[in-house]
C-alpha cells in the first residue's frame, strides 16, 4: 500500500481537468503540463502547479517520456496519471515511471504490452475462452482452401486484404456460389493497392453493434465490471455518441457479455480501469475486438448510470487499496448518453476547423455534465485532437436522455468555431436512433438523411433577423470602440482584475 498524495497529469484539455477535479475532492496535489500552444487552456491553471513543456510537436511535449518523468521527479509527485491517448497505453512509459520510483496509474507495463499487440491480445482472449470473430488468416492463399475456410466460418463472410485497409481489397460474400469471383476481385484490388494480394477471411457481421464493458481490478485479485456502453454511432471508426445501458441487450445477454469481460481481466491479472470491446450481432452472438488498458473518453457515461467515480477508483487501486465495492453493489440506474463536440465542419467532409472560441455556452438542465477542455479566447489549431468537449446527460429513460442531450447541445454553442453539433442533432432526432436501431454502419446507411436540410421559411427569417440584429449591435459597438476597454477582449478578460 502506498498513499498517493500528489499526481502529475501527463495529458491536456478536458481529461486533465477531469483528473484534477477528482484529485481536488481527494485532497491530492496536482501538477499539470502544458505546451506553448496550450498556455491559455484552463487545465493549466486549475492544477496546483503547472510546468511548461517546450517544443512545437507532440514528440517534444506530451509524448516526451523523459521530459515528463524528469518533471514528475522534480515536482516530487507520487504518481503519474496518463489520461487517455498519448502515453496511456505505452508500455515503455509505464515501465519508465515504475523504474523512476513512481506509481503509474494503470495496469502493469507487461499487461499494457500484451493487450496492445493485436496478436497477443487475441491469444489471451482465446485462452480465456472468449469468442473471437471466426476467421481464417493463414498461409494458404489458394482459392480452394479459402473457399473451404469460408464455408467453415459460415456465410456471409468478408474477404479482407492483409496488407492494408481503407476498404481496398475488401469484398463481402453472402453465398458460396459468389465466393470465387469475389475472392479474385479482392485479390486483384489488393495487389493493385498494396502490391500484395494476400487476404484473410472473416465472418461478416451484418448489423454490428459496438458494445464495450467497463472493467475494474484491484491488486488483490478482485475483478468486477461496471456494465456496458454502446458506442455504435461512429464515423470512420471515430465514436460520436456513446450510451449506457445498450438498448440492444436483454438482461441475460448483458450479464453474459459483462461476465465475459471480467473473465479476460481476471485471466491477464489486470489492474485498474479497462475496457473490453466487443462486436455484437443481432442474433445474440458477440466477439472480442480489443481491450483498452486505460480510462476511456466515454467513461462519464458509466459514471452517470452507476454513480461511481472511476478516476477515484483508479487512484485508490493504484495505492494498493481493495476495491471498495462488490459486484452486487453496482447497478445501472436510468440512461446516460454522451456526444463528442468536435472542431470539424460536417458540411465540408468533416474537415478539421480552426479559430478562436468566442463563447462556449452553459447547459442549464439538471443531470447534465459538460466535460470541456477549452474556454472563450482559446485558439483551436490542428495541433491536437479536434474533440473540444463531451456533453453527457442522464435521464430516467433513453427517450428523456436523448431529448435532454439535444436541448443541452443547443446551449453549448462553441461560437467562433465550426463544430459537428448540428450533425449530432440530426442523429439524435433520427427515428432509427430513437428506436435504438444503432449499428456501426448508422452514419453511412443514413448518410442522406444526416445531411444539413434546406432551411424552412421560418428558420430563414430568424436567421435573417439574427444577422440584422447582430449587425446593428456591431455597428453601435464600432462607434463605441474607442471608449471600450481593451480588457473586454475575450482573451484578456481574465486579466481584468490583475493589478
Amino acid at each position: 500500500m502506498r498513499a498517493i498524495r500528489s499526481i502529475l497529469i501527463a495529458n491536456r484539455g478536458e481529461i486533465a481537468l477531469r483528473i484534477i477535479a477528482t484529485a481536488r475532492e481527494m485532497g491530492i496535489r496536482t501538477v499539470a503540463l502544458y505546451s506553448t500552444h496550450d498556455a491559455a487552456l484552463p487545465h493549466r491553471r486549475m492544477a496546483d502547479q503547472s510546468v511548461h513543456l517546450a517544443g512545437d510537436t507532440l514528440a517534444e511535449t506530451y509524448l516526451n517520456m523523459d521530459a515528463i518523468i524528469a518533471t514528475a521527479k522534480q515536482s516530487g509527485v507520487d504518481a503519474i496519471h496518463p489520461g487517455y491517448g498519448f502515453l496511456s497505453e505505452n508500455a515503455a512509459f509505464a515501465r519508465k515511471v515504475a523504474d523512476a520510483g513512481m506509481i503509474f496509474i494503470g495496469p502493469s507495463a507487461e499487461v499494457i504490452a500484451q493487450m496492445g499487440d493485436k496478436i497477443t491480445a487475441r491469444e489471451a482472449a482465446m485462452k480465456a475462452g472468449i469468442p473471437l470473430i471466426p476467421g481464417y488468416n493463414g498461409e494458404h492463399q489458394d482459392a480452394k482452401t479459402l473457399a473451404a475456410e469460408a464455408k467453415k466460418i459460415g456465410f456471409p463472410v468478408i474477404v479482407k486484404a492483409s496488407a492494408g485497409g481503407g476498404g481496398k481489397g475488401m469484398r463481402v460474400v453472402t453465398e458460396a456460389a459468389a465466393f470465387d469471383e469475389s475472392l479474385a476481385q479482392a485479390k486483384a484490388e489488393a495487389k493493385n493497392a498494396f502490391g500484395d494480394d494476400r487476404v484473410f477471411v472473416e465472418k461478416y457481421i451484418t448489423q454490428p453493434r459496438h458494445i464495450e464493458v467497463q472493467v475494474f481490478s484491484d491488486a488483490h485479485g478482485n475483478h468486477l465490471h461496471c456494465f456496458e456502453r454502446e458506442c455504435s454511432i461512429q464515423r470512420r471508426h471515430q465514436k460520436i455518441i456513446e450510451e449506457s445501458p445498450s438498448p440492444a441487450l436483454s438482461p441475460d445477454l448483458r450479464q453474459r457479455i459483462c461476465e465475459t469481460a471480467v473473465d479476460i481481466a481476471r485471466a491477464i491479472g489486470y489492474l485498474g480501469a479497462g475496457t473490453v470491446e466487443f462486436i455484437a450481432d443481432t442474433d445474440g452472438s458477440f466477439y472480442f475486438l480489443e481491450m483498452n488498458t486505460r480510462l476511456q473518453v466515454e467513461h462519464p457515461v458509466t459514471e452517470m448510470v452507476t454513480g461511481l467515480d472511476l478516476v477515484r477508483m483508479q487512484i485508490e487501486v493504484a495505492e494498493g487499496k481493495l476495491l471498495a465495492i462488490k459486484q452486487s453493489d453496482i447497478v445501472q440506474h436510468g440512461h446516460a448518453i454522451e456526444c463528442r463536440i468536435c472542431a470539424e465542419d460536417p458540411d465540408r467532409q468533416f474537415m478539421p476547423a480552426t479559430g478562436m472560441i468566442e463563447m462556449v455556452g452553459k447547459p442549464t438542465l439538471r443531470h447534465v455534465r459538460l466535460e470541456n477542455g477549452y474556454e472563450a479566447g482559446n485558439e483551436i489549431t490542428t495541433h491536437y485532437d479536434p474533440m473540444l468537449a463531451k456533453l453527457i446527460v442522464w435521464g430516467k429513460t433513453r427517450e428523456v436522455a436523448a431529448k435532454k442531450l439535444s436541448e443541452s447541445l443547443q446551449e453549448v454553442v462553441f461560437a467562433g468555431i465550426k463544430t459537428n453539433r448540428a450533425y449530432v442533432q440530426r442523429i439524435l432526432h433520427h427515428p432509427e436512433f430513437l428506436k435504438g436501431e444503432t449499428y456501426t454502419s448508422f452514419v453511412v446507411i443514413h448518410k442522406d438523411a444526416l445531411e444539413a436540410p434546406a432551411l424552412s421559411g421560418e428558420m430563414l427569417k430568424l436567421v435573417a433577423a439574427a444577422y440584422l440584429g447582430a449587425a446593428s449591435t456591431a455597428s453601435s459597438e464600432a462607434n463605441t470602440k474607442m471608449t471600450q476597454s481593451i480588457w473586454d477582449t475575450p482573451a484578456l478578460t481574465r486579466f481584468r482584475n490583475v493589478s
Binding site: R236, D347, R348, Q349, F350, M351, P352, T354, G355, E358, M359, G361, T382, S406, L409, Q410, V413, A415, G416, K418, T419, R421, A422, Q425, R426, H429, A452, A454, L455, G457, E458, M459, L460, K461, L462, V463, A464, A465, A466, Y467, L468, G469, A470, A471, S472, T473, A474
Partner: protein
C-alpha cells in the same frame, strides 16, 4: 436598402426595414418578417415571432471571411454578404488553396481547362483524411502551382484559376 446574402450556401436578397432595441424587421426574398427582441446579451438573442413563440439563438462575431454563424434549434447556419466571387455552393473561398497543412495527392485539371464553380481541381490529404479542393468560381486554369506529392502549408494556392465573366 437591400443586399444579397449567402445563407447556408444559397443566395438571398435581404432588406433591412427596422432595427431598434425592441424590434427587428426586414424582408427576405420578398417575404416580410418582424420579431420582437426579448433579450440581447453579446451574441445571445431571444426573438419572439408574431405568435409569441420565443426563439433562443446565438450569433457569432464576424470572422475573417466576413461570415457569421447563427446557432439555433439544433442548426448551425453560416451567413455572409455575397461577393462577386462567391458561387452558389457552400464555399465562400476565393482561391483554390490548401485549407490546412497537408500533402497534395493529385491535381485533377490541366492548364487551359475550363472549370465551373465546385469542380474538383485537386485532392489533398491531411489529418489522415482525403479532401477535395474545388474551384471557387467559374473560370479557366491558368497555372498548376504545386505538384502531386508536395507538402503544403495552409493557404498555399494549389491551382490558379482566372475567373471568367458569367
Amino acid at each position: 436598402m437591400s443586399k444579397s446574402v449567402l445563407i447556408a450556401g444559397q443566395n438571398h436578397s435581404l432588406t433591412d426595414i427596422r432595427r431598434d432595441a425592441d424590434t427587428i424587421a426586414g424582408c427576405i426574398d420578398g417575404d416580410a418578417f418582424a420579431f420582437r427582441v426579448i433579450h440581447r446579451d453579446g451574441g445571445w438573442l431571444v426573438l419572439a415571432d408574431e405568435t409569441g413563440q420565443q426563439h433562443r439563438l446565438y450569433v457569432s462575431a464576424s470572422n475573417a471571411k466576413g461570415e457569421r454563424h447563427v446557432m439555433m434549434a439544433g442548426m448551425d447556419v453560416t451567413i455572409a454578404v455575397a461577393t462577386r466571387n462567391s458561387s452558389g455552393g457552400a464555399q465562400t473561398a476565393t482561391r483554390a488553396a490548401a485549407p490546412m497543412p497537408g500533402t497534395v495527392q493529385a491535381i485533377r485539371v490541366t492548364v487551359g481547362a475550363a472549370v465551373k464553380a465546385g469542380d474538383i481541381v485537386a485532392i489533398m490529404e491531411a489529418m489522415k483524411m482525403q479532401m477535395s479542393i474545388t474551384a471557387p468560381y467559374d473560370g479557366v486554369v491558368r497555372a498548376i502551382c504545386v505538384q502531386a506529392g508536395t507538402q503544403v502549408s495552409e493557404g498555399t494556392e494549389l491551382v490558379q484559376i482566372e475567373a471568367s465573366d458569367v
